[in-house]
């Protein structure tokens, strides 16, 4: 089944987080009758538990819908709903490579935000036709004129006549569908050519094995065909071809311009590479597609089982999750304090949280998460004052002795922040405090756009939380990696009751060390329960203490009364205390609650 190219429209739906992409997708699916009303539910495409629970999209999703347009013709529309959160920006950019146009959804009660911009840039890079859609016009705060003007000012695309939509009430959906047909280009491609298909995504399905999402550029993909994955020259026999509606529906073949999936008894997601080119096993295409840059984890942290007996279960869980998530990396780690665990790499903090939640919930393993860190480049001293080898440092605990180190480099990012004027001062101060260098500051109406060069390590942990709190949620934030730069970085260790706790050590800028050290000690003082003895809490660089707090001794903890011979009551109390102890880790003589490892790092600036 090949569809006439002129009757195909492929597009992604992109927007800032929560501007209503998934809800708009719902309406498009519903209006075209792709899903029966009774099977409809909100954000239908957000099918993972964690997506439904958090109300966000994590994985891009593709749906094929048939639309009978006002011109009497029936069109095939392939839409890809994308995630809005910056951690999953990679999903957006690769989805865009599979389609020709983008619906740029903007919440008309909010306006242009950081991810709106970021997505526009991605769309332009992919040579997309962009159709702006003003959403949430049912809200009293909706102001389409203002937002249209903003789109023109900030982004520079025509928006005066932009479609006004309420994905909630369904208003404007018909216009949106018409605009998709009229304003977005049809794909191009040659039917009588060797197969050339783009491997857009792949994931594991317990029944079907690996499912490969493909976009056909040229030729046809048929059931039973032998195909070659060009990146590694592997051959596969296609056993199923289909499309998503959004349920899987088998078809005999897919032609140029179409999007669908194949299965070929592939066991592991690792055996497929997103961005790869798929062609015929013989007489295939010569020229492969450009391919995608793989997503690189940028945030690292240790995951340890609370109950050390669960290490093997954790290994199992991590193996399984990694199967479906190429952007998540892991290696075994041992910590003097926490025992055996894994050092894991993530795309960002939300990604980290999502994986951690899934391990805790789906695999029922309680975890201790250590301080997130980035990858530092440690340049060792070479012979005769030369610079020696470079070591990638994923874990501050592995920091080599400073006397052997020539210098350190840290990853930097380019951050774009959009914020209403009123809060600009707070945002600039926050960026300044985090060692940011201003690159640009422009205004559009009453909103400012600040562009900063920031060290990633100042951002990974709680920058986003802080930004939200100083701007009461009115700022939006997006970033991209910008490479490495040298700076005066040191390892700060933390000593609790004179014992170093490796899981709390961190890399900091020398100038910020005292402040971080003090904040860390103060925080730990509130997180560690009082013990029967007083506990010094210190931060140190090398052997030098830079901050110190003392947790005073617990003085009273005794049951005064005697309830006759009710020994059972006392045992219950003791059991409660014991359960509390289980949630802690012992360091020397001190029990530290597991949440302390993360909470200690949250700075209240």
């Amino acid at each position: 089944m090949s569809t006439d190219l002129s009757k195909i429209r492929n597009f992604s739906i992109v927007a800032h987080i929560d501007h209503g992409k998934s809800t708009l997708a719902d309406r498009l699916i519903q209006e075209t009758g792709t899903v029966q009303d009774r099977d409809m539910k909100e954000q239908l495409l957000d099918s993972m538990d964690i997506e439904r629970e958090r109300g966000i999209t994590i994985k891009a999703n593709t749906v094929r819908i048939d639309y009978k347009a006002d011109d009497g013709e029936t069109y095939v529309l392939n839409l890809i709903d994308t995630p809005g959160h910056v951690d999953f920006a990679y999903e957006v950019s690769r989805s865009m490579r599979a389609v020709e146009g983008s619906l740029l959804v903007v919440d008309s009660s909010q306006g242009v935000e950081a991810q709106t911009l970021a997505n526009v840039y991605h769309a332009m890079e992919a040579d997309h036709e962009i159709v702006p859609v003003l959403n949430k016009i049912d809200l009293p705060a909706s102001d389409c004129d203002r937002v249209a003007e903003q789109i023109e000012d900030v982004i520079g695309i025509e928006a005066t006549g932009a479609i006004q939509v309420s994905a909630k009430t369904g208003q404007g959906i018909h216009e949106t569908l018409e605009s998709i047909v009229k304003d977005l280009p049809a794909p191009t491609g040659t039917l009588d050519a060797p197969l050339k298909a783009m491997l857009v995504d792949s994931w594991y399905d317990a029944y079907l094995g690996v499912i490969v999402l493909v976009r056909i550029m040229d030729g046809t993909l048929k059931k039973g065909q032998r195909v070659k994955f060009m990146s590694n020259d592997t051959l596969h026999s296609v056993d199923r071809v289909g499309v998503f509606r959004p349920e899987m529906e088998m078809v005999d073949s897919l032609g140029p311009g179409e999007i669908g999936f194949l299965t070929a008894s592939i066991k592991q997601v690792r055996d497929t590479r997103v961005g790869d080119t798929i062609t015929n096993d013989r007489n295939g295409t010569e020229v492969a597609l450009d391919g995608f840059k793989p997503a690189q984890p940028v945030v690292f942290c240790g995951l340890f089982p609370v109950d050390s007996a669960e290490f093997e279960d954790l290994r199992d869980a991590i193996d399984k999750l990694a199967l479906n998530d190429a952007s998540f990396s892991f290696e075994m780690e041992t910590s003097a304090a926490l025992g055996f665990g894994f050092r894991c790499g993530f795309l960002g903090l939300l990604h980290l949280e999502v994986i951690r939640d899934r391990i805790e919930r789906e695999y029922n393993i309680e975890l201790i998460t250590t301080a997130p860190s980035v990858i530092y480049h440690v340049y060792m001293k070479g012979k005769d004052n030369t610079v020696g080898e470079m070591i990638e440092l994923h874990n501050p605990a592995d920091m080599p002795d400073m006397s052997k180190v020539d210098h350190l480099q840290e990853p930097r990012i380019k951050a774009t922040i959009l914020v209403p004027d009123d809060y600009l001062g707070d945002v600039l101060k926050l960026c300044q405090d985090r060692r940011g260098i201003q690159l640009d500051l422009t205004y559009a109406g009453s909103r400012a756009m600040a562009v900063y060069d920031l060290p990633l390590n100042e951002v990974v942990f709680d920058f986003y939380d802080r930004l939200k709190s100083v701007t009461k949620g009115y700022a939006s934030f997006d970033y991209q990696m910008e490479g490495y730069r040298e700076d005066n970085l040191v390892k700060m260790s933390v000593l609790v009751n004179d014992e170093p706790v490796d899981a709390l050590s961190m890399m900091v800028h020398r100038d910020r060390a005292e402040q971080r050290g003090r904040a860390m000690c103060e925080k730990l003082k509130t997180l560690i329960p009082r013990h029967m003895f007083k506990i010094p809490i210190q931060a140190a660089i090398g052997g030098k203490v830079i901050a110190r707090e003392t947790l005073s001794a617990l003085r009273k903890d005794v049951t005064a009364k005697c309830y006759g011979g009710d020994a059972s009551r006392k045992r219950k109390l003791l059991d409660k205390q014991k359960a509390g102890k289980k949630k802690m880790r012992q360091f020397g003589r001190v029990d530290i609650p597991q949440e302390a490892f993360i909470s200690a790092l949250k700075m209240d600036d």
């Binding site: 006759g564 045992r571 014991k578």
Partner: protein, 385 residues
Amino acid sequence: MAEDWQNGGFGLYIHWPFCQAKCPYCDFNSHVSREIDQFRWLRAYLSELDRVAAETSGRVLNTVFFGGGTPSLMDPDVVAAILERVRRLWPTSNDMEITLEANPGSVEAGRFAAYRDGGVNRISMGIQALNDRDLQRLGRIHSVSEAKQAFEIARKTFSRVSFDLIYARQEQSLDDWQSELKEALSMAIDHLSLYQLTVEQGTAFGDRYNRGKLRGLPEDDLAADMYEVTQAICADAGMLPYEVSNYAAIGSESRHNQIYWRYGDYAGIGPGAHARLTFEGKRHAIENWRNPTKWLETAEDGNGENLREAVSPEGQATELLLMGLRLSEGIDLARYQTLAGKPLAGTRVETLIDIGMIEVENSCLRVLPQGRMVLNSVLSELLVD
């Protein structure tokens, strides 16, 4: 071979669940009831005594304790009839201690002689405070002068009289308490129970506390200071802190309570009464129905218990520690080891010794005064797996 309980002795607890008014801080099994058919209750107590005695016949009974509630609201004839039955059912030691908890009202004071004639030889009186403002705050229905009169009558009637005070009250300063304690010591004969006010969930104080309406309670540091001075002042006066909240001249300790703390065997009769009894070498935890009517009816039907289960040897070892370490004399580690099947040891024990919370001497483990103030923490360290 001697059974473990014999290290502690054998006593009998009898619970009387009624009071004239419910105090707002109290979470004991105590209730206010208008109509109480005391002779119906007596029949129930007697029948329960017969039942328990059949299981423990031949044992020498060391103590009897009437607790509450307010046992001084019991008709003296009821008390006398119970004691008469007790003597018939068990051989008793020559100097058997028979304590009755009394509230310091005038009604009660009028009955003291009758209790003595029935066999009671020790009174434990709930005076609670020595100033009227605090008695009112504690919701007590007697005044200081009434309490003192009652106490005078009691000490003329009995050779052994102890009284209870609650301290660390709202708005009480360290000085306030010190002078009140000195006054108490000038009244005391040879035994005192001094409890720090505990706010219990499910009481009127608990509700008030949850709503933020129970103000002026001492912070932990002040409470700890109060506890320290209490131990020091009492010791100076010759009243040694032999248990967390109990002070006595040497030889005048409450022998009944010592049976609990030394983890002996004790029978318990009446609503909510707890017991530990060894049958054929197996120690059992026993509980009676807590609701007074429910207990009365089930006792009349032949058995007021609602729970009876064997305590494993390790469970007993834990209980030995929980109870025994309340006493300054401590516990015998050999006895612990026999029950637990393994010695009490490990780095956590060593740390506790190191930081001066406990000491071990000639196979005896004692919690030092420092540690007694944080006994719950000490215990959870000792017992953590």
